[in-house]
């Protein structure tokens, strides 16, 4: 199959916050994904696909259904564990992929199921991997995640929480690694997302269409140019694409060296306490995101500004403690706590 042309990430007009949230997640997949709220036609899925296209290839075990990282023995699947014992892990590289989970997906396709062909032809019980297997080490993209069936959401939550997909279904008992960057989109008008699922998203952003006429014109111009001649349009952005890819690669390498001061950590902990968020995900994610922002900007020391940027992405969707409470983030309060 010929590789389909993908609209360049750097050619997307505006939507800076969404772009930042996505970039931070690919630099640091441990952030916990991003929930994008907003209307249709705001370049959500374009941005996700475009970002994957731009990323450098990663190491994978050749032929592994779960694309295990040959250098991460903690997260090998069963087959790779065995191969590693024999010392024969074939190494190759592949780009990060965007794996789409359609809202209508049935559970057997999501978690995997009994391989019918093997069973009928050979009488063997084998596991046929599903979407969660494909999603391991990739981006799992769920459009209109708020419309997903509850039982599929349960499965997603389970896998997202553990990084493992445990299957005890239809005659097969199996588990495999399922660590993915979860990107969900939703239109809030069409119903709520379950609070549990909301809490699992590391970051959230609200996107709106551009209102400035000049920018709107630019959006259309670029789109038309792309549709007219995709190849030369893509070529025009090659330079910028390379620069961004390079920036992301540098940030990925820098990230383990990024530090933060005790003072900054105190402020983040206080922030979580005073805002009354549930549990520890909020403060842990704020500091992780802030560190990633620092890495993205090529710094080794996390700054207060980084924390502020992170707080805007991490806190808003965690402010609601009960149903029906208006979940708004009091930004003045955040500033006063951080600046104290």
């Amino acid at each position: 199959m010929k590789r389909v042309a993908v609209y360049p990430f750097t050619a997307i007009v505006g939507q800076e916050v969404m772009k930042l949230a996505l970039i931070l997640n690919v630099i640091n997949p441990a952030l916990g994904g991003v929930l994008i709220k907003g209307e249709k036609g705001t370049a959500k899925s374009t941005a996700v696909r475009a970002l994957a296209e731009l990323l450098p290839a990663m190491n994978i075990v050749a032929g592994c259904k779960y694309h295990c990282d040959p250098f991460d023995s903690n997260h090998y699947c069963d087959e790779c564990t065995e191969l590693a014992l024999k010392g024969e892990l074939p190494n190759t590289t592949a780009k990060m992929k965007v794996v789409e989970l359609p809202v209508s997906a049935t559970e057997d396709r999501v978690v995997g199921t009994l391989d019918i062909e093997q069973a009928i032809k050979k009488g063997e019980k084998k596991f046929e991997p599903g979407i969660l297997a494909l999603a391991n080490r990739n981006i799992l993209y769920v459009d209109e995640i708020n419309l997903l069936d509850d039982h599929v959401v349960d499965v997603l939550l389970d896998a997202a929480a553990m990084g493992v997909n445990t299957v005890e279904r239809e005659g097969v008992s199996y588990s495999h690694p399922a660590k993915f960057v979860l990107v969900g989109t939703m239109n809030p008008e069409e119903g709520d997302i379950r609070p549990q699922l909301l809490d699992r998203f590391g970051l959230s952003v609200v996107v709106t269409g551009e209102h400035e006429p000049a920018k709107r014109v630019e959006v259309i111009k670029r789109r038309l140019a792309y549709e007219l001649d995709a190849d030369s349009f893509i070529a025009r952005y090659e330079e910028e694409q390379k620069a961004l890819a390079e920036k992301i690669t540098v940030a990925q390498k820098l990230l383990p060296e990024v530090t933060f001061s005790d003072e900054l950590l105190t402020k983040v902990a206080q922030l979580a306490i005073e805002l009354g968020v549930d549990g520890h995900r909020a403060d842990i994610t704020v500091i992780k995101t802030a560190m990633t922002v620092a890495a993205y900007e090529g710094r080794k020391e996390t700054s207060l500004e980084d924390v502020k940027t992170a707080a805007k992405l991490v806190l808003p969707h965690r402010m609601r403690r009960r149903p029906f409470e208006e979940g708004t983030l009091d930004w003045d309060k955040v500033e006063s706590i951080l600046m104290a």
Partner: protein, 644 residues
């Protein structure tokens, strides 16, 4: 997934109670299971998974929520049957759990039928299987650990009672502790091996302590005095049944064993009581009545196990429900002096019936009376071909659409449309040696075919039709009405129901909110709903009828429920020569004919009661409740409208 690195138990900051409870469960499987509640993100699952290292060589088996019955209970070994023609039992998770620990994350989301089988088997120690041509019985002794976040609804009282211990993970508020949690979590993410190493000494020590405790346990001395003390403690807590004493003693034994003693002291029982008693404590009626409403509310907030008794129709907690549903108008924002004059006030209300005398302000927006409590709503839709009661969500719809979770397989009646491959293969497997081969490992006959039984947990659809006329406008009345609706909405939120709202006042009925899954929007709609003007009841009913009718036409599986809130005093005409009350009754009869299940919440108040809402309810074939008498009901039962 053998190499998977788990966060070390000993590196967990705080959560001492949860940690101790887990140690107890690891040492003594007879404590009857451990349920861990708590806010999301407080580390419930992390702690449970961290016990793996301590358990070794025992295992922590994860029971996924989507487990199918064959994999849970066990079934015929498909491979053996196909390849060697032998009928052999293949163990399910419950069998494999023998001697191990079984762990269920978000246990409150597991299908209640499954959970109740699991706790029964756990209590009995025997798994009996009669499935797919195998008959099997096996011994299985395991500890059960579940975690839950009460936001998604809690377990029913009967199920709660089966758990020996309950503990809640704390929401740590100390800055230094929180900082330490962040530091260690980051360290673990960057280099798991290093963090595990730095706690390996502590892990080894704890492991030795637990191993020793397991050795001591069979020799544990339990004096008569301790038995008496345990009985006294349980009696004081008004525990139902005798499970409490047994669990209390077993827990105390484990605590003593962990402390390295081979006899139980009173302090062990006291420590055990913290885990064993809270979720099974019942209040004696006299005491409960002395409580102020505020205390009641606090109690509710603190004890999730008391909040949701939705499955509990005849359980012991009925007293509580009644208490919580104390007379609605006692608790609103107004003071007690106003309260005592409520009868005089209701005379004013009566004058509102007559437009010429209408002294009520034209437009009022009443605040939601949040302290209003209603009894639990129970949908008693009975058994029909399509819908049956059960599950945490209100109804389970069995559809012909290939949607929903595949829960089990059955022999098809007629044509197979949704083939259950695994069950079909299992059904055919034992007969393969007798059948002519077709080149494959499997020769299928028609009688082998099994089809999937799918369950789709859907919330129900509720349409609220609210009388927003002037006669409802008296501030605290509308407050109470909104309070009652608020309660229902809150339940709807938990159960993922869909809701819609329409109001009728002045000369028209208005759809305020089309049917949506966003209970939030309904809530906003409710708080902003103004009252004032006449009562076009027939218009309201007509709009409700057309809305619901359209809904059912679009999706035959839906069984929407109409909740009509009115005092029944229709006084606005559709056309000149029609009596507004008669018009309303006529509409009500249409609704009955359409078999729309409905509930009428009568809000009529005052000396002279016309009882029109009751008449409307009867004509509609609806369930009828009066808002003032809600407190006397144990449950709000909604029975299906069977039409004529």
């Amino acid at each position: 997934m053998r190499n998977y690195a788990y966060y070390p138990f000993t590196a967990i900051v705080g959560q001492e109670q949860v940690k101790q409870a887990l140690c107890i469960a690891m040492v003594n499987p007879k404590v009857g299971g451990l349920l861990i509640g708590g806010r999301p993100g407080t580390g419930k699952s992390v702690i449970v998974r961290s016990i793996r290292e301590l358990l070794n060589p025992r295992k922590l088996l994860n029971l996924p929520l989507n487990i199918t019955e064959d994999m849970l209970f066990g079934s015929i070994d498909m491979e053996k049957a196909l390849r060697f023609g032998v009928k052999q039992f293949s163990q399910g998770l419950l069998g494999k759990a023998n001697g191990q620990i079984l762990y269920i994350d978000d246990i409150n989301l597991l299908r209640p039928e499954l959970l109740s089988s699991i706790v029964n088997i756990q209590a009995e120690g025997i798994n009996r299987v009669e499935r797919e041509s195998v008959s099997y019985e096996e011994q299985t002794v395991f500890s059960l650990i579940g975690t839950m976040n009460a936001d998604n609804g809690t377990l029913s009282n009967q199920l709660l009672d089966r758990f020996g211990m309950y503990v809640e993970s704390e929401n740590i508020q100390d800055v230094e502790q929180r900082k330490e949690i962040i530091r260690r979590t980051l360290e673990f993410q960057i280099n798991p091996a290093r963090l595990i190493d730095s706690y390996s000494q502590e892990t080894t020590e704890l492991k030795q302590k637990l191993t020793k405790a397991v050795e001591i346990l069979p020799r544990m001395q339990l004096s008569e005095a301790m038995l008496i003390l345990a009985a006294q403690m349980c009696a004081q807590a008004f525990c139902a049944g005798h499970r409490a004493e047994l669990f209390l003693l077993e827990t105390a034994k484990a605590i003593a064993a962990i402390a390295g003693r081979c006899f139980v002291l009173p302090k062990d029982l006291e420590a055990a009581a913290v885990y064993v008693l809270p979720h099974r404590m019942r209040k004696p009626p006299e005491e409960a009545q002395e409580e102020t409403p505020d205390e009641k509310q606090n109690n509710e907030e603190n004890n999730p196990q008391e909040q949701d008794n939705s499955e509990d129709v005849d359980g012991n907690s009925d007293d509580e429900i009644q208490e919580n549903a104390a007379p609605p108008l006692d608790m609103p924002n107004n003071t007690s002096s106003e309260d005592s004059s409520s009868e005089g006030e209701s005379k004013d209300n009566d004058t509102n019936e007559f437009p010429s005398n209408n002294k009520a302000p034209e437009e009022l927006i009443a605040a939601i009376n949040n302290s209003f409590k209603i009894p639990n709503l129970v949908l008693d839709l009975g058994k029909s071909s399509q819908i049956k009661r059960g599950s945490g969500k209100r109804s389970i719809t069995r559809t012909d659409l290939k949607q929903g979770r595949y829960v089990r397989a059955e022999q098809p009646q007629g044509k197979v449309e949704d083939l259950a491959f695994d069950a079909t293969i299992r059904a055919a497997a034992p007969f393969q040696s007798l059948r002519p081969s077709n080149g494959c490992a499997l020769t299928l006959y028609n009688e082998d075919l099994r089809q999937k039984v799918r369950e789709k947990r859907i919330g129900n659809t509720f349409l609220f039709a609210v009388d927003a006329s002037g006669s409802m406008g008296a501030r605290e009345r509308m407050g109470a009405v909104k309070g009652a609706i608020h309660c229902m909405l809150q339940e709807a939120y938990q159960k993922r129901d869909r809701v819609g709202m329409l109001a009728f006042r002045r000369d028209k009925a208005e759809m305020l909110l089309p049917i949506t899954r966003s209970v939030d929007l309904a809530q906003r709609c409710l708080s902003q709903m103004p009252t004032g003007g006449k009562t076009p009841l027939a218009e309201g009913l007509a709009l409700a009828y057309s809305t619901l009718d359209r809904l059912v036409r679009a999706d035959q599986n839906l069984e929407p429920i109409l909740i009509l809130v009115t005092d029944g005093r229709a006084n606005s005409k559709l056309n000149d020569n029609e009596n507004p009350v008669e018009a309303a009754i006529k509409m009500a009869q249409y609704i009955r004919k359409a078999k729309i299940t409905a509930l009428v919440l009568d809000t009529e108040k005052g000396y002279v009661k016309l009882g029109l809402a009751k008449t409307i309810a009867r004509e509609m074939g609806a369930n009828y409740y009066h808002i003032d008498k809600l407190s006397q009901e144990n449950i709000l039962r909604i029975v299906r409208n069977i039409g004529d």
